[in-house]
């Protein structure tokens, strides 16, 4: 009896799955087609740039090479916008941890000792995270004039073998 029920349930399950696939293909066909053409990743980069332009248009960005050059000069403050647990695991050498939540909760206290003219590079986990832009925007609103977002994020830095620290 149970087997008969299970077979019946599975048959209907497959029909519901087919319905969901049909609806999905119908509503997201352009995306599926991009996937089959192998253009999803590059189009995603374009979408991300457009979204960031619209959301955080005024935030300057730096790439891996530029971020490393600034780090070597030693005049730039690096801010890690990732959650505390990830920062404690590993972060760019000399960076301080300040996530968007930290800034919203206790931003005034955390920023009290930092010069408003100081050059700041903010980063988060990888290319697709927006926490670095959120923090950069909040810092600008607090009067910091030289804030940049490092778009490659910690993953690009780590993969390049550049200097990192564990928790202070």
């Amino acid at each position: 009896m149970f087997r008969r029920l299970l077979a019946q349930d599975l048959t209907w399950g497959i029909l519901i799955l087919a319905l969901a696939l049909g609806l999905g293909l119908q509503s997201h066909w352009p995306l599926v087609r991009l996937g089959f053409k192998g253009e999803l990743a590059s189009r995603l980069d374009e979408w991300r740039d457009q979204y960031r332009q619209a959301e955080f248009g005024e935030i300057q960005t730096v790439n891996l090479k530029q971020a490393y050059a600034l780090h070597r000069q030693g005049q730039t403050l690096f801010i890690d916008a990732r959650p505390r647990s990830e920062f404690r695991e590993l972060h760019i050498a000399g960076a301080i941890n300040l996530s968007p939540e930290d800034l919203q909760d206790s931003g005034d206290q955390r920023l009290s000792g930092i010069d408003r003219q100081c050059q700041i590079v903010v980063y988060c986990g990888q290319q697709n995270c927006d926490a670095s832009f959120e923090v950069a925007e909040l810092l600008q609103a607090q009067g910091f004039s030289q804030v940049m977002a490092f778009t490659g994020g910690f993953r690009a830095w780590d993969e390049a073998g550049y200097p990192v620290d564990i928790a202070p």
Partner: protein, 153 residues
């Protein structure tokens, strides 16, 4: 013993109410999760790609299928249409996701799981625990539905 029978009936009725409530909650959670993915396909595509598990054609197909699978199975579960089949589909989705979470954790990737219903959550033990709890709930609800139809021994 009429008193005992009444007690058993009351317990059963309470269990039925609990099951009905949890069935609605599970269905609603899946509909909500599906709606979010459907209306934010760009963010969902990024989430799927961050797992670095699927080739691009399968990423595209997943982005098309998963939101509708969650919305349809969740909505039908709420409406009580083929609830057992919906619960089987929900279990299948949760098992596949559990495997993906385990592989991602073993690979040491720190990424957003795309599974936090009301807040962002990283791939980790909390996400696995949530998945296991939902899987247990779906399996229990399925078993209750089946038990109702099986002849009493």
């Amino acid at each position: 013993m009429p008193g005992m029978r009444l007690g058993t009936r009351l317990t059963l009725r309470r269990k039925d109410w609990l099951a009905a409530f949890l069935r609605l909650a599970l269905g609603a959670a899946f509909v909500y999760a599906g709606i979010w993915k459907h209306f934010y396909p760009y963010q969902f595509t990024e989430t799927v790609m961050a797992y670095q598990l699927l080739p691009q054609p399968l990423v595209g197909l997943s982005v098309a299928l998963v939101p509708w699978l969650e919305m349809v199975s969740g909505a039908l579960l709420i409406l009580g249409v083929k609830p057992r089949s919906c619960l089987l589909l929900i279990q299948a989705v949760l098992v596949i996701f559990l495997v993906i979470l385990a592989i991602t954790m073993l690979r040491g990737l720190n990424i957003d799981c795309g599974c936090g219903l009301f807040s962002e959550r990283q791939v980790g033990l909390l996400a696995i625990l949530e998945d296991v709890l939902l899987l247990g709930l779906a399996a229990w609800l399925y078993w209750l539905e089946v038990q109702r139809l099986l002849p009493a021994r």
